[in-house]
């Protein structure tokens, strides 16, 4: 027998502390999925009443009204009205209000109360309101709204039992709000909200002293950007240096697993598939997990403290220059580690055109998968001469490749905003939440969810693609005694043969064309593919890279090497990015567009580099 589980929706304005309340009410028992047909997350969790009965709690996207201005807000409206496909209508609502922002949050609350669903109001973050010198009368508010009002502090688990009890009571009694609240007009609702808020306020002092003082420094016209860039520098340092030992350990783990599989599985098709296909392929992506976790730690920290909105504020002017807004800054920042979380983070961009443009340029940010490629080529072809104190030629070239990607992204954004993603300059209207101390438990939960999502993707899409590529490279098998290598003879080798005339004008040989095919799985695979092609048998990647560098220096001309670097600044060689773009844009149109324009740019950039370098006699 299935127990009837009432569906309860948490709903409220952005920054009301809804997610913290959701975490406090459900613990780690959460499920994240997508609403069908839209890229809006459905967060649900198990909720337990005082007597142990279960209920299902959903955390609806924060909204300002039932008149939506974004896909998120449309989902909130459709769910509370019972019109969302694949979702039953909630039996009760918990309206979450920020105590320190009552007049604003009551506007939406009044609209929700008019729906007539059994409702409880959580007067959240009462502690912060008290810190700011604001005292509220919850009983008075309950009388004015006609529903129970429970003061809560989600992060300290205060008021949760009372909230559950009140919810139980209104559901059992099917108690709808009794005050007539139907105000059709937003202005009338606002006047009413201000009136109710003013009667609930017992005493108040100057607003938000704490936050204003912090903003005086963090939003300072000169100090603000300096602090932001210092912070970004620390984040970059952390992503690239703290992650190294963990990434090395994961790599060693994957190698050990491969050896174990080699030792236990009898030689043949299955062993080759497991060792060379699954373990090597999935392993090469899972290696990025430490970087992604460190990056997300900082991003979640910036979000939880309220600093993220300030970073967007500082960056808005620069982003406006290419037709974007400050909201695109975080997704693009994430893309320096990996474009996949970056593209997923574009969900917070309310303007559709802005969001699309950001998704399309995210792969131009130099992700960490390009580093192995850049490192090998630079080490082999660029002399390590010093050109100034602490500045070497090699470092300068690497830096130049990052800058090249950023400039490319800006130019592309400008072009896209006046062509396929045309539209009036979107605004940058954004509420700046007050500063808060982050809570470790919420951070850990967020990190866990991000990591699980990434691993699930590695376990499905990347897994399938890896096997596909492995099949292409392994079959048909080269006959005994043939002078051709397996990679040349395989289906992939034949495709490379077709590709050769296309890439020959930009200085790429057939060997390079062959390395580019498996690199579709992930860019850094190009390194191991080149190593395979040049028949290097090395025990680990470092010696392979070193030996590879020597071979390359002997076989490639400098113009070819430079063209190869330019190619990887643009080439969308990451099947997972394409897959995530398909998911986030709900179709094949934009991922195909992304593939076409980036390969086009890669060809042109590599070509120009090759021809110029050749003409200069390099």
């Amino acid at each position: 027998m299935t127990v009837h589980q009432p569906l309860i929706a948490l709903v409220g304005n952005p920054n009301a502390g809804k997610s913290a309340l959701f975490n406090a009410l459900t613990g780690a028992r959460q499920k994240i999925a997508n609403y069908p047909g839209v890229t809006v997350e459905r967060k649900s969790g198990r909720f337990t009443f005082a007597d142990g009965r279960p209920g299902e709690l959903i955390d609806l996207p924060g909204s300002y009204s039932l008149d939506p201005t974004s896909p998120d807000e449309a989902v909130t409206r459709d769910v509370v009205m019972g019109r969302q496909t694949g979702e039953r209508r909630p039996e009760a609502l918990i309206i979450v209000l920020d105590s320190a922002n009552l007049d604003q949050h009551l506007v939406f609350a009044l609209e929700l109360l008019a729906l007539g669903l059994p409702t409880v109001v959580a007067l959240n973050m009462v502690d912060l309101a008290e810190r700011d010198g604001l005292t509220l009368d919850a009983a008075r508010l309950a009388a004015d709204l006609g529903v129970p009002v429970i003061p809560t502090v989600a992060v300290r688990r205060r008021g949760l039992a009372e909230l559950a009890a009140a919810l139980d009571a209104v559901i059992l009694a099917k108690q709808a709000p009794h005050a007539p609240l139907g105000e059709p007009d937003m202005r009338a609702r606002r006047r009413r909200a201000e009136h109710i808020a003013n009667s609930a306020i017992v005493s108040q002092t100057d607003s938000r002293r704490w936050t204003d003082r912090a903003d005086g420094v963090l939003l300072h016209p000169f100090a603000g950007p300096i602090i932001l860039f210092a912070l970004l520098f620390i984040i970059f340092q952390a992503v690239f240096s703290w992650a190294t030992p963990f990434a090395d350990a994961l790599e060693a783990g994957a190698a050990a697993l491969g050896e174990l599989a080699t030792a236990t599985i009898p030689e043949g098709f299955f062993r080759s598939m497991v060792v060379d296909g699954v373990i090597a392929g999935v392993g090469s992506v899972v290696v990025f997990l430490p970087q992604i976790i460190i990056l997300f730690f900082f991003i979640l920290l910036m979000e939880a403290t309220g600093y993220m909105a300030r970073a967007a504020f500082i960056m808005d002017r620069m982003m406006a220059g290419v037709g974007l807004s400050g909201r695109s800054f975080i997704p693009l920042l994430s893309s320096f580690a990996c474009a996949i979380p970056g593209i997923m983070a574009t969900r917070s961009i309310s303007d559709e055109k802005d969001r699309l443009t950001t998704i399309l340029i995210a792969p131009l940010m130099t992700c960490s998968a390009r580093l192995p490629v850049y490192t090998v080529i630079i080490a082999a072809f660029i002399p390590s001469t010093a050109i100034g104190p602490g500045i070497g030629m090699q470092g300068l070239v690497l830096f130049g490749l990052y800058v090249f990607g950023i400039i490319g992204a800006m130019v592309v954004a400008l072009v896209l905003r006046s062509t396929v993603a045309k539209g009036g300059a979107s605004g940058f209207l954004m509420e700046m939440p007050k500063y808060q101390l982050p809570r470790l438990r919420d951070l850990a939960l967020g990190l866990w969810q991000r990591a699980a999502l990434f691993l699930r993707r590695a376990g499905t899409i990347i897994f399938a693609v890896t096997i596909g590529l492995w099949l292409l490279l392994t079959y048909p098998q080269v006959p005994e005694g043939s002078s051709m290598s397996q990679s040349e003879y395989s289906a992939a080798g034949r495709i490379a043969g077709l590709l050769e005339p296309v890439v020959a004008p930009i200085g790429f040989s057939r060997d390079i064309a062959l390395a580019l095919i498996p690199a579709m799985a992930a860019r850094e695979v190009a390194v191991s593919a080149l190593a395979t092609t040049y028949a290097i048998d090395a025990p680990d990647e470092e010696t392979a890279a070193l030996a590879l560098g020597e071979r390359l220096a002997g076989r490639w001309s400098l113009p070819t090497a430079l063209a190869f670097l330019a190619w990887f600044v643009f080439a969308p060689q990451c099947i997972s990015t394409i897959a995530v773009t398909r998911r986030e844009t709900n179709g094949w149109k934009w991922p195909i567009f992304m593939l076409a324009y980036l390969f086009g740019l890669a060809w042109v950039a590599a070509g120009i580099t090759f021809w110029t370098a050749t003409a200069l006699g390099l």
Binding site: R190, F313, D316, S350, G427, L429
Partner: protein, 87 residues
């Protein structure tokens, strides 16, 4: 006076908003945040040295970032004419 000319730290009441120059969704979001005729606002911060854009307004107990181009669609009653009691 237009909103983007209001000196930082001074409070003023919004007398008119030219909705026609704002994109439809932007107008809707402004109203949802309570930035509407009759509301009183204070500029708390201005953007970085380069353009001093966007600006951060306080309205009630909330701070909202808005671009100057949209702030120029908002007309204010002269600051000294706004009664001190408006909250």
């Amino acid at each position: 006076m237009l909103l983007d000319q209001l000196p930082t730290g001074q409070r003023a009441e919004i007398s008119a908003i030219d909705w026609s120059v704002l994109p439809a969704d932007e107008g809707k979001r402004l109203r949802a945040l309570g930035i509407d005729e009759g509301a009183s606002v204070t500029i708390r911060h201005r953007g970085i040295f380069f353009g001093r854009d966007p600006i951060a307004l306080s309205i009630g107990r909330m701070t909202v970032a808005i671009r100057r181009v949209h702030a120029r669609a908002i007309t204010l009653r002269a600051p000294d004419a706004a009664p001190e009691t408006i909250a």
